[in-house]
Subunit: 151 residues, 2 copies
Amino acid sequence: MQISSRFSIGVHILSLLAIQPQDHHTSEWLAGSVGTNPVVIRRVLGHLKKAGLANVKAGSGGATLARELDDITLLDVYRAVDVVEEGRLFHMHEQPNPACPVGANIEQVLRLMMFKAQAAMEGVLAAVTMRELVDVLAREIEEKRAAISPK
Amino acid sequence: MQISSRFSIGVHILSLLAIQPQDHHTSEWLAGSVGTNPVVIRRVLGHLKKAGLANVKAGSGGATLARELDDITLLDVYRAVDVVEEGRLFHMHEQPNPACPVGANIEQVLRLMMFKAQAAMEGVLAAVTMRELVDVLAREIEEKRAAISPK
DNA sequence: TTCGTTGTGATGATTATAGTTACAACACGT
DNA sequence: ACGTGTTGTAACTATAATCATCACAACGAA
């Protein structure tokens, strides 16, 4: 199974808010760039709002960043959009037989390994800020632009 | 979403094969320790067999290890049971708008981060052998046994 | 040849994802 | 105060994966 695209959508949205701060960022507009339905955007944006990463104005509409880019890590987004219940990336089978020595002890041993593996993954996400990601993204955009229309 | 319990079941099965080598390991018997249906066991065992981690005898029945414990990592099991398509732990939304600068470039930038995160997770699994896991498990079992009936 | 077992197809219940429609609540400009 | 455009949500749908279970043919050894 895969981690929901809510995560990538969340990052995409925040990138848009960061790179094009002048626009009126409606869910309709954001949906156009992400390539999905405005309601999907609103739902993800709802998560980002609850996590204090974005501001969304009801009524008049429009979303903005609620924190500095340096202050948002990919892990923040990952947690915000709620793709994996905390500490539960791996699903452990639920009824090992306590009457069997292996069944009675496998869970705690295996959970430790699972936890370490998951922590390593999240550690990478925690080490990358939206600032870094947006900088790389901006460089990509600029490079392509320059390649198409060299001065 | 979570990574399928096929992984934990696979590890459980291999642990049983390692720790109780004298038994006739039928799917029925293994299912008793794992706490599931024999068919589920047979299917996971099928994966382990295909990956060269276990031998299964049709007809007369019974499974055995096909490799030394030192020669099986948790990553081998993880790959064997096919819980995550290679390199695809994260699901990236599929239609970012190529006409938008962000939409056109977010994928390659984000995929790189996702790849690193996933690689870190798999690195931990690759670093743990079934030997190590079984040793820890055996120690747990022995400790509990000793606590119940001290000499 | 009989018996227990494996391998596998088929089915069903459950759960998550992702898209869509619909609409009340809301904010702002006029 | 009103109209317009937007958000927040509920509801519904389609799709897909998981896991348990039944059923049964193919197989192996006594």
